[in-house]
Structures are given as C-alpha cells and as structure tokens.
Amino acid sequence: MEQPPRKGFFTDTSICIGCKACEVACKEWNHNPRDGDLELTGMSYDNTVSLGASTWRHVAFVEQGRDAIAAARTSGRALVSLGMPSVGAPASAVPAPDVAPPDTPEFRWLMASDVCKHCTHAGCLDVCPTGALFRTEFGTVVIQPDVCNGCGTCVAGCPFGVVERRSDGTAAPTYREGHRKGEQPPVPKRGVAQKCTLCYDRLLDDETPACAKTCPTTSIKFGDHTSMVASARERVAELHAQGMTEARLYGANELDGVGGTGSVFLLLDEPEVYGLPPDPRVCTADLPTMYKRAGVAMAGMVAAAAVAFWKGR
C-alpha cells in the first residue's frame, strides 16, 4: 500500500484576525454540538475557552501592553542567540521598501487558532487500550468513535490538553432539550473521546480540512508536513528580518519531546501565553523506565511475600 506523505497544518498566528471561521467550519463539517453554556467569559473575545470534545479549533485572544511586548521580543531574541537550528533568510526576501519595525509598541492583541498537534509521538495514541486511536496513512492521529469505550486514558495522555471525553457538551449542563440558552442540544457520540481528526474523511477525498479551507487570511495552511515546516521556517525568518524577533515556531523541531508536531505554529510570544505547554514530553517516552522500575517493585513484592512465608509463623 502506498503511503501518502504526512499531512499537517501550519498556523501562522501573525496573520490571524481572530474571526473564528475555523471554529465554525470545523463544527459544521464534523457535526459537533454547540459547546459551553452561552455565557460571556470576560476573556477578551474568547468565549469557547479551550479545545475540547466539541471544539476542535479554538482561537485564543491575548491583550498585551508594552512590558509584555518587550518581554516577548527579548525571549524571542534569546531563542535566536541560543543557536537554534535555523534556515537562513529565504533566498527571495520580500522587497519591502521599509523594514523599520512596526511601531505600535504600546499595545497588541494576539490571536491564535489552536488545534490538535497530531504529534509524531502521540501520547493519546500510545496509551489508548482499545485501539480506538490509530495513526492514519496521512500520519495523523484519529479516534474511531465506534471503538472507543470512553476509558479516558488518552485524555490524561495528551500533554496539550486536546483530547476530551464528550459528556453532555455544556459547561453547566441542564437537561432541558433544546438549542437556546439554558437548554441542552442533542449531543452525538456521547461518552467517547473526541478530538480533531484533521478531517480524515476529507483527506480521503483529497479535500482540504474544513478549517484550513475556510481561513480567510491563510493563517491556517494545510499541506505536506515537510513543506509546512519549510514555509514556517521561511516565514519566521521573514519576520525576524523585519525586526519582529518575538516570532518563533512551535512544534517544528523533530527532536523535541513529542518528536515534532504535525500541526506547526508560528507564535509571537512564549507558548504558555497561548495556553500551550512550554516543554511538552510524550509520557510514553519514559515508559521503558517505568516498566523497569515497576518490574523491580513487583519483584520486591514477590520477594517480600516469600520472606513473609519463610519468616512468618
């Protein structure tokens, strides 16, 4: 069977306008129910809060003043000086007549569309006991809702907090059926783990995932993983050349704790600012150690029992 190239996203948050079309297109395509309890969160324009069982794309909104911007620039510069692996400036640098840094330093509003990372080493996939999760021919990680028994181990296995077991679909569940505030919409696939499938069904039909297709500004790009990483590297170099040292990539390094992610991001601040872990590590990386330690412990238990029967009178 011929293996298609690994597919992935490159989400360039520097051009995201926070329109949330990705959230809607995703829900619409995947028939995911409305999430949350229709209350204003007070978290800027973010009212869906995080990725979850029914929200597979989530746009974060961060308002920052001068100090935070300066800190982001500093931490970005520090990354550069660490001698990170970096391709040089792209050969065809944009003919910008003026490379002075954008001069709006008093305030900025960051928007970033988050999604399942489709990790190279996927914790959720590794720990799933039923085989409900599998790696597709596109290198993506997908849950089979007809197999999952809702044990929830994958939820614990994800270092990014992406997977969630679908319950009733609202934060403050009510059991009045309906669509309006205070009512509970019908929730399909209740009780099984849910997350982004990278539109596995659409990929099979050679279609672009719903979120990437709808994205008005191409902040969400979709394609072969290698070319996504390449364009991410080009873009970050371009921004650095414009003086935006706060730009950095997230997930483009195959040596990181999850072996690199299928969904690569360009961020303008430290990952935790966007709700992303700063140094995630797939839990099963330590599994051999755990098994070894557990083996010793179990042997100890057997030995203790032996001693007990030998000594115990």
Binding site: L40, P102, R180
Partner: protein, 880 residues
C-alpha cells in the same frame, strides 16, 4: 486592493466585518504594503495593521482635512493628475462664500428651514453668471443613493452644460484649488491633536506614509464602512476622503480608490434596483410633486443633454424603465405612462415612516428580511410604532424580534404595552434561504453573481419573488374590471413571468426584463448604449443592461478564477458594462500613457486608435486622449480626451461639489448631534443641515456648552462583531455563532471602569436620552480615553447584535435602543456611530422602573424634544 502600496482603513473594521474581503489586504501586506487603521477602537483590524491610530468617534473630517491641508501646503499632491483630471482648475462663482467667511456656514443657508440654497456654490459661467442645474434639481443618485456610501455609483448631478472657466496654473483665487487650500488651512496638526486625540507624531506618520505611497509609481487605497456613513455628515466624511484621494491621484488606478465595505449580501443591488423611497431602478429619481409634475420637467431635471458623459441620455433610461413596467400601455402619447408613477413630497425614509406609523398614519407594514425592532435606531420608537399598525407582515427565516415584540418585547416587560391591548395583526411568513431560490446578488464592488437553486424551500417557506408575484396576481385579480384610474397602473403592469417547474416565476425571466430587450422580438440588449428613447426597447434597470447579453445569464458566468486574466472578467458580471475599475481612463496620463510601468492599466494605443488594457475602458473606447470636442456638445461626444470621470457632468473628478450635496460644496467638520466636545473649528457646533425628528420619543442629549451636557458625559459608538450579522436574525439563531459571542457586552477603558466602578465580566447599565440597556462589561486597553481640547473623553463601545425576545439562541438588550434618530440630509442615514450616554455599574431596573430611570436622566439633563434641534449655533446664547 491587493495592488495598493498603502491601505487606510477608517470608519470600518474590515477584518471583523469582511474577513474574506480582508484577504486582499493581507495579500497587500504580504507584498510589503502598509495598512493603517484609524478607528476609535483597537479592533481585530488594528491587531494586524501596520499601525493603529486611535481617533475620537465622529472627528474624521478633522483628521482627513488635516491630511488635505498637509498635502496642499507641503505640495505633496499629485500635481499632473490634479490639473488634468480634477476640477481643481475650474473657477467657482463669485457669489460663493466659504465657512471661513461665515463662521462655519457656507453661503445660502436658511436658518428658518435649516436648508441650504446651493445656487451660489456653482461654477462660474464663461458667459457670465453661474452654471446651474437644468431645472435646479439634482437626480436621485447624488441626493440619496449615496445613502450607503455609494461614492462611485452612477456619477454626479447634472449641470446645465459643461462649459466652464479653468485656470490650469491653479493660481486664480476662485479656482477650486485655491478655495480648497483656504478652506482647509485651519485643519492643522494641532487641531487634529485637539479634536481627534491623535498625537502630532502619529498624524505625521500617516501623512508621510500616504504621501510616500501616492503618485506615479504608487497608490493608496481607502476603505470605509458605516463608521463613515452613519453620521449627521456621513456623506461629507466620504467626500473628504474622496478629495484627499483625488489630490493624491488615487482614483481610477490599480490599488487606488475608496472602497465601500458594505454589510449585506445585496445591499448594493438593493440600491441599484432600489427598495428605497427616493429612487427608481438605475438611480433614476422617484418623481417629486412640484418639481416633476410633468414628464418633461422630470426628464430634464435628471440630466441635461448638454452636459458631458452618460447622464446626458437620462431620458432614454426613463423611457425604457416605463416601457418595461407598463408595456403596451406606455406610449409616446401618454409620456410612456409617466403619470402612473406616484409622487414624493419630501423625505419618506424609514424613520419618517416610523414617525407616521406611531402617529397612526400607516396601516400596513411589510418587513422583509430585516429586523427593525433590533436593528433600527431608537428601537423603542420602532416597536411602539409597530403597535399602532393595523397589520404587519414579517417575512424571515427565524422568528425575529420584529415579529414577536407584541408578546415578549421590552415594552411588554416594562408595562408600556399590554399584549391584549395591541390591535396589530401579525403575519409571520417563513422565507426561503439563499440556496432555496435562484437569483442574483450584487456585491460591494458592483458585481452581480447568480445563485442557482439547490433545493426547494421547506414547509410553507417561499421566496420573496414567489410571494410578491403571487400577491401581485391576487391584487390584480381583485381589481380586474375596475374603472378607477388609480387602479390602471396595477392593471396595466407587465406581470406575466413564465413559470418554472414548480409554478413559480422564473427569476431569469425577471433578470431578462431588468436587462432590457427589443420590444418587437424580445431580443436581449447587450449594452445600455443600445437603448432607444422611442419605445422600441424596454429595460428595467439601464445600468444592469448587458447582464443578459446574448440571452445568456452573464451573472452566472463561473470560469474558475474568472479566467485568469488580471480583471478575472469571466466571473459574474459587473455594472456598468462589465467594467471592473471605474473611471479607469485615469490610470493613464493626459496623453493616454500609463503614469508608470508599475501602475499601468488602461492606455491609448495609437496604432489601433483605441483604449487598450486588461479591463473595459470606462470611456468612449475610440476617443483620442487629445480630443477636444466643442464645449457645447453634450453626452459622450462632449467628453474631452482627458475627462475620465464620465459620469460627472464636466468629466472631471470633483474636489469641490458645485451641485448635488445639500449640506455644502466642501466638507467641514461639525460635531455630532450629541457631543460632549465643543467644535473648535467653527462657532457652528452641529451640522447645520442635519435632519431632525424632534419628538418626545426621540429626545436628544444636550451638547457641550449646553446645560445638562454632563448628565450624559460619555460618547458611545455602535458596531458589529465578526461573529454576528447585524440585528442577529441570521446569526443569533445559529448555535455555532451564538456561542462565539453569547452575550451583549460593552467595552470600556480601564479609566472609565475605575470612574464608574465597573468590573470585567460584571454588568453595566448604559443610559441615553432614549433608553437604558444593560450589558456585560469588558474592561480593555483596546478602548482608550482620549485627550480632547485638554480634557479626557471616554468612549464606550457597544455591539448591536442582540435584541430582547425569547426565540433566539441568545438574546440581550439592543444597543440601537439607545440611539436617537438624527440624520445626514444627503442620505437620510441616521447617526449610529456617536451619541452621548452615561454608564453605571450593575443591571438595569426591571418593569416600570426602567422608564423611570430614563425619565430621571432626562429631567436632570433638562432635555425636551427641542433640545439640540437648533440649526445654527447661537454664539451669544452659548456664551462665547
């Protein structure tokens, strides 16, 4: 837009309101262009802008005027373009007096009527006197179609003839250029700082960026939306930008212009084929009593045969329309059934109608895909007015608030209305969605695109086309045999559209009628130039002629990517004549050569003897750039080779508007009808010619300098969010959209929050002289307190998508309830972007206490229906 070197977005929030259109801005940015967002709020557009400049809502004319002054006084304007293509060199009448001379008023103002007599604004006539309109009246397009900021619609108002005096050295003191220079000289950077709250550094940054991105090699593009139109001087906001763009040579060229960013799928179409009181299709005016009593008066008033350009053929368009509507009943003998048209007597806009409704003068009301109970200014007045109707027909997809106010509206809760007392009959008719009917939408760049029908409407739902066709059939059946002359127009109406498979009228047949045809054989016309004024052709909307050329539905053309050419011309159909950039003759210089290689578009090809380029030239195609026809000739023949503005009566871009606007030939800054700020530019505080509706249900807050102004100390502005659509009828019923912005909120600065004890995520009550509403609070640095004339001015941001009802997924108080109805006299559009309010912490009172709260504020402020209604500011009385 993707071709611009600099994009100024102002009075609009493109990334939020038009995310997909914004991709062209993104593309320009990716190519290295700059984008500056000038707006009271830091929005999602600002977030990706090269720079955001915070401006006090309603002070845009000061800022733009400052830019004009900067460009003129530093000689940064595009001299060759200005001399060649604009009316800068034209001499203005000796009788004209500017605001400089009259304390903020132009000559001709009548304080009694609150209206201008524009006769002194005219061009000087070489034969002495002035160049006035043919019979002293403008055609509808300029007087009101601009309503929605339709700057490039169908052209300027008529002039008697196109013979004018010009001084191309621009030195004569009565040249438009000198008038302009003097007029804007008081719009200094310091004035911008004091009135707009924009620092001199920021102002200079914007000025420098525009200057560097204009001229032969580069272009700057402006984009605006309702942030400009919804003001008492909205049309003048746009005019100011147009003056600036003409000065900089940024009209008619790639990556230039002023883009109107419109909010509805076919809002352009509904102005072109207007469901508007003052227009007939194709920007022909509705006849007015007294001015258009006879056919001849009517036709002559629209366009003079001696003026330049295509409005000179206005009579042809009129005849074709009448012929299309009344077929054989329209004959030369009966002036093509001109008398079948009803007559206007003044403004009959939606707000005047609402007032009439409230006073019981209107029996029946059709509400079609619109939600005035939420979306119109002064919502309480709207709902109380509807309660006076005999019957109301609401046609919509969802059970909107405009259909349910009688059972769950705010006035039911407050006890002002009792369901059992309301005599209004309400018909709710389910409508068809866009996929359940075929038809065309005209988008914001004038492109018609056909939608094919995907499925049949569900249940009892039906399209507007089917409903109104059926209604027409039944009305005509009831009148059959009537001898009453008033029924003739209905009985003679052409109303025989071939049915489709389901027995409904075929929309393509309607399109064919709109397009126009030869009466004898129904052969479709392919251009409006084929129309005849002798009754042998008929056509419902001349500007759309060509959309059904060759009997093919050109709006349904869908070659992928429009065929790949620069203009992507094989996708949809653009009026007029499938032209993609208007006035594109201006993309070449006086001699017909491109201004620069980089910005080449249309140019004159001597060998072929015609204009060539990627587009259809918006000009007589074979007219040599050096052509200088006899000035007495009118129409297309009258256009000189360097008259690119083919719809203006003199072929030039108008820096100065000798006719057509009712509130002044040049933009001048006046404060909003309600403003806590004194106008520092002129003694005149408010726009003198603004339209008022002085009523007890439409009170105004006192402005700065008047007693009681401090009762409503804050400025609020309303806007939309990307997650919702206008009054919510198509978004608040959608769970996916509702969850993204679930509750009505207000945005306030940290300073205002501290002043009023507001907490992020908590509640606030906002009070205006019309209403009080509650909203959740977002405290954010995206809203800045601004220093205006040395004092802090706080602005409150209010999205207007929510309404009070019980059927939507999410409901909430309506921001528009706070607004009063004060209108731009050119467009009759209300001022939604600036008004005065107070903000207090906590939720609003319920029941009858709500009106008590509003009344107590009114009392404290001493407002009466007369407050704020004086046209001319009286310096004595105002104490300075």
């Amino acid at each position: 837009m993707a071709n611009a070197d600099c994009i100024i977005l102002m009075g609009g929030n493109m990334a939020e309101a038009h995310p997909v259109g914004f991709q062209w801005v993104s593309e320009a940015l990716a190519k290295g262009a700059k984008m500056i967002h000038v707006d009271p709020r830091f929005t999602r557009t600002s977030a990706v802008a090269t720079k955001h400049v915070s401006i006090r809502a309603g002070s845009d004319v000061v800022f733009l005027g400052g830019l004009i002054n900067h460009m003129i006084s530093n000689e940064l304007y595009f001299h060759d373009y200005v001399v060649a293509f604009t009316n800068a060199a034209t001499l203005v009448s000796e009788d004209f007096r500017d605001t400089e001379d009259l304390g903020g008023l132009f000559s001709g103002f009548d304080p009694e009527t609150g209206k201008y007599d524009p006769s002194t604004w005219a061009y000087a006539d070489p034969a002495g006197g002035t160049v006035t309109g043919p019979s002293g009246e403008e055609h509808g397009a300029s007087a009101s179609a601009r309503a929605a900021g339709h700057e490039y619609g169908s052209g300027g108002p008529p002039l008697e003839h196109a013979s004018v005096l010009r001084d191309e050295t621009l030195q004569h003191p009565r040249t438009v250029f000198q008038v302009l220079k003097r007029h804007f000289s008081r719009y200094t950077p310091e004035m911008v700082r004091d009135m707009c709250g924009i620092s001199i550094d920021d102002f200079e940054y914007v000025a420098r960026t525009i200057a560097e991105s204009s001229g032969r090699e580069r272009t700057t593009c402006f984009g605006y939306a309702t942030g400009w139109t919804q003001h008492t001087l909205g049309a003048q906001f746009i005019r100011t930008a147009a003056v600036l763009q003409l000065l900089m040579g940024n009209v008619g060229r790639p990556g230039s212009g002023i883009m109107a960013l419109r909010g509805h799928a076919s809002i352009q179409g509904s102005t072109d084929i207007p469901t508007l009181f003052n227009l007939l299709p194709g920007y022909l005016p509705m006849p007015s009593v007294g001015r258009h009593d006879s056919y001849r008066e009517y036709v002559d008033s629209i366009g003079s045969k001696q003026q330049k350009g295509y409005w000179a053929y206005a009579e042809t368009y009129v005849v074709n329309l009448l012929k299309a509507w009344w077929g054989e009943a329209a004959t030369a003998e009966n002036d093509w059934a001109y008398d079948y048209l009803p007559r206007l007597s003044g403004a009959h806009g939606t707000y005047q109608t609402t007032a009439d409704m409230r006073d019981g003068k209107v029996e029946g009301y059709f509400v079609l895909g619109q939600n005035p109970a939420v979306g119109s200014a002064n919502g309480r007045q709207q709902r109380l007015a509807m309660a006076q109707l005999k019957w109301l027909v609401v046609r919509d997809l969802n059970m909107i608030e405009s259909a349910t106010w009688w059972k769950d509206g705010p006035e039911i809760e407050s006890g002002e209305l009792r369901t059992e007392d309301i005599a209004t009959e309400v018909f709710f008719m389910p409508a068809a969605t866009h996929v359940e009917k075929a038809g065309s939408f005209t988008q914001t760049q004038r492109m018609l695109q056909w939608r094919h029908q995907a499925v049949q409407p569900p249940g009892q739902a039906q399209s507007e086309l089917d409903f109104f066709h059926e209604l027409g059939v039944r009305i005509r059946a009831r009148l059959a045999g009537s001898t009453d002359p008033r029924d003739r127009p209905l009985l003679d109406l052409t109303w025989d559209y071939p049915p489709d498979a389901h027995g409904n009228p075929d929309p393509e047949a309607v399109l064919a009628e709109i397009n126009g045809y030869v009466v004898d054989d129904r052969a479709p016309l392919s251009a409006y130039t084929e129309m005849k004024a002798d009754g042998t052709t008929a056509g419902g909307c001349w500007i759309y002629t060509g959309v059904y050329a060759d009997g093919r539905n050109q709006a349904a053309r869908r070659v992928p990517q429009g065929g790949g050419g620069v203009t992507q011309s094989e996708w949809g159909w653009v009026w007029p004549a499938d032209r993609r950039i208007l006035y594109n003759r201006a993309s070449a210089d006086r001699d017909g050569k491109p201004w620069s290689e980089r910005k080449a578009y249309m140019s004159w090809d001597d060998a072929q003897g015609r204009w060539v380029g990627p587009d259809n030239v918006d000009f007589p195609v074979d007219k040599h750039p050096h052509a200088r026809p006899d000035p007495s000739l009118g129409g297309a023949e009258g256009l000189a080779g360097d008259d690119p503005f083919v719809m203006q009566a003199d072929g030039k871009g108008w820096l100065y508007t000798p006719k057509g606007l009712v509130d002044g030939p040049l933009p001048a800054h006046y404060e909003a009808a309600e403003s806590p700020v004194r106008n520092a530019l002129y003694a005149q505080q408010q726009a003198p010619a603004r339209v008022l509706l002085a009523r007890s249900d439409n009170m105004e807050a006192p402005s700065a300098g008047e007693p009681g102004a401090d009762v409503y100390p804050y400025v609020f502005t309303t806007y939309r969010l990307t997650e919702h659509h206008t009054a919510g009828g198509m978004s608040r019923w959608s769970p996916y959209l509702a969850e993204l912005q679930p509750e009505m909120f207000c945005e306030v600065s940290p300073e205002l929050a501290a002043e009023r004890g507001l907490v992020n995520g908590g509640w606030a009550t906002i009070v205006s002289p019309r209403a009080a509403i509650e909203a959740r609070v977002l405290v954010t640095d995206r809203i800045r307190s601004l220093t205006i004339n040395g004092r802090e001015v706080q602005q409150v941001g209010l999205p207007y998508h929510w309404g009070v009802g019980s059927d939507a997924v999410v409901t909430g108080d309506a921001a528009n309830d706070l607004l009063g109805v004060m209108m731009d006299p050119n467009t009759q559009i209300q001022e939604s972007k600036v008004a005065s309010c107070d903000v207090i912490a906590g939720r609003r009172p319920r029941g009858a206490d709500l009106q008590r709260l509003v009344a107590s504020y009114q009392q404290r402020a001493g407002t009466t229906p007369e407050t704020g209604t004086r046209a001319v500011t009286d310096p004595e009385k105002e104490g300075f």
